[in-house]
């Protein structure tokens, strides 16, 4: 998986109408700086101020994933910037979750999965020979589609991660801080020792978010985090995401285009296409600022999906 360092030489692709190229607007290179983005008037979506430094967290080049003989996703190029919410959208089976799981090396756990191409995390090759996958996952956390708390108490769920690295500082404080950031503390502070299963679905998902935050990650990946939840719980988590992006980088896979439009700064649209042999494979079609993509998509397939003509 040898790659050249692409940071020094960014190439601006011209937008074209050919369906096979991706529309890709790379940020202008700047020395990395931790620069929080400004909140917009409604407090939800954030427009990166033009010309401001945009720190790149992930740089994905030529990423493909095969499960055994089947190609799940083919040749993806995109970037994820710090303190932004990047959304992956598209119909089912187009590889969005597959790409997401590349970002924290979850495919290591799947026998038969092969990841090719390059994923750079703050400039370092995520799949380098000496990279410790467990450390990767500590820094790049994940929240799953169905809430999956451990059959333990609320406290032990949140404390699980910190206990691994024997975090300095009192566990109680770490747990409280994480639950507060996940907007769950007030609801559970009196029943920390109760089983996690005593919580409602939405609460369980916020517990999972708290659990992920407790290890103080850099990035939080979310795989359709609201798809198992009712609309009220969903909107609470969307509010939470807007708060969280102040301090974390968030990548979210979602089935719900409106959700992507509401919360994300950048959106990547994937689709599934048939190759010559008739096998399905996922491809990245378009990647743009959310506002731009939803008002004037560059690709007709994007437009078709967004306007509801398919998918």
């Amino acid at each position: 998986m040898g790659t050249t360092d692409t940071r020094a030489a960014t190439v601006t692709d011209t937008v074209s109408d050919a369906p096979t190229t991706t529309a890709f607007h790379p940020p202008t290179p700047h020395p990395p700086e931790h620069v929080p983005a400004d909140p917009s008037p409604d407090g939800l979506t954030v427009e990166p101020v033009p010309g401001r430094a945009r720190e790149v967290v992930f740089e994905v080049t030529g990423l493909s994933v095969t499960y055994g003989a089947a190609l799940a996703i083919d040749d993806v190029d995109l970037e994820v910037a710090a303190n932004e919410i990047t959304a992956f959208i598209g119909p089912s089976g187009c590889g969005k979750t597959t790409v997401l799981r590349c970002l924290n090396r979850m495919h290591d756990l799947t026998p038969g999965a092969r990841v090719t191409g390059s994923v750079r995390y703050h400039g370092d090759d995520l799949y380098g020979a000496k990279v410790d996958a467990a450390e990767v996952r500590r820094r790049i956390g994940m929240v799953f589609q169905k809430p999956n708390p451990f059959p333990k108490s609320i406290y032990d769920n949140v404390a699980y991660g910190p206990r691994i690295s024997r975090e300095k500082g009192k566990l109680d404080d770490i747990v409280e801080r994480a639950l507060t950031r996940a907007a769950l503390w007030d609801e559970v502070k009196d029943k920390l020792k109760k089983s996690a299963f005593a919580l409602s679905g939405g609460q369980q998902q916020r517990l999972c978010i708290a659990r992920a935050l407790a290890v103080q990650p850099d990035v939080v990946l979310m795989d359709e985090p609201c798809s198992a939840l009712d609309p009220i719980a969903t909107s609470r988590i969307e509010d939470l995401m807007a708060e969280l992006k102040r301090d974390y980088t968030i990548v979210i896979v979602t089935h719900n285009m409106q959700q992507a439009a509401r919360v994300s700064d950048m959106t990547a649209f994937f689709t599934a296409e048939l190759d010559e042999a008739g096998h399905r494979r996922g491809k990245l079609v378009e990647y743009d600022k959310t506002a731009a993509m939803f008002t004037s998509p560059s690709d007709s397939r994007t437009e078709g999906y967004i306007t509801g003509r398919f998918g």
Binding site: P32, E33, H34, E55, Y121, H122, G123, D124, L126, G128, K130, V131, D132, A134, E135, V136, R139, I164, S165, R177, T180, R181, A183, Q216, D218, E243, R246, D247
Partner: protein, 331 residues
Amino acid sequence: MALDLQPPPTRPSAPRLADERPPGIVVDTAFRWLAFAAGMLVLVILGLILYSTTEQAWPAFQAEGIDFLIKNDWNPAAGSYGALSFVFGTLLISVIALLIAVPISLGIALFVTEVAPSWLRRPVITVIDLLATIPSVVFGLWGAYVFAPWVLPRYEDLANAFSGVPVLGTLFNGTPVSARSFMTAGIILAIMVIPIVTSITREVFATTPAAQKEGAMALGATRWEMIRGAVFPHARSGITSAVLIGLGRAIGETIAVVLLIGSLPNKITAELFSPGDSMASVIVSQFGEASGTHRSALIGLGVLLFIITLIVGVIARGLIARSDRKLGLAR
């Protein structure tokens, strides 16, 4: 909601991921190797069983060669170790046991899956499982002191009833002094084998696709016709495996058999009420006093038992694996 807590401590913007020795890797790797070693233990033990017992049995194998298996002359005093009668005895009691146990087990399994009302299912299964927990020595004790005296007059009746009749007369010939015989051992063995055959068959019946059963009923089939038409065909290879597993259990049973079979070597006969011997039971009855080649020969019978039960077990489980694959059950 106001977040009046301190933000997380700032980290260097390009955090290093690669470490010389990542924390926790030692314990993780050690655990993996420990688990691997435990897994390999199965292979190691099976291999050691074969090696160790064959090594000790070798003097007898060498002395007799193939006669060990095909000669019916077990006479340790004269140095002769032809074990044919024990092989015969093992087969005979196993066949008797299966002939009795399989229909009963099928019946119980059908009862539980097709006939019994749902509140009765759990208790019935519990009863059968209880039968499985009774130690074999208790079966032997009860068989020798309760069943045998009771069944003896029945044997005499049968012998009298069929005397002179062609095939059956020979089978039930003889007025046995005690009830210790192939027949008695086979009957008690049947009781011991019923739970395992029932349990496997029950699982197989329970996985009959509901669509097939409902289809049969929708065509107007009676319950029995539905069982014959939908349940049995689906369960064919499963029943075969269950029978084979029961066979393996019967072949290896030692203590109950030794207390009931009569311990009479060199007896190859069609007379079911005759005392005899089996491979497992002769090992136990003669081991204490045996030495030298005699002991090697007894261990050799153990080797034989091991190989036979391995083969039966492999066939049985291979059948299960094949039928699981056909059903699409991922294993």
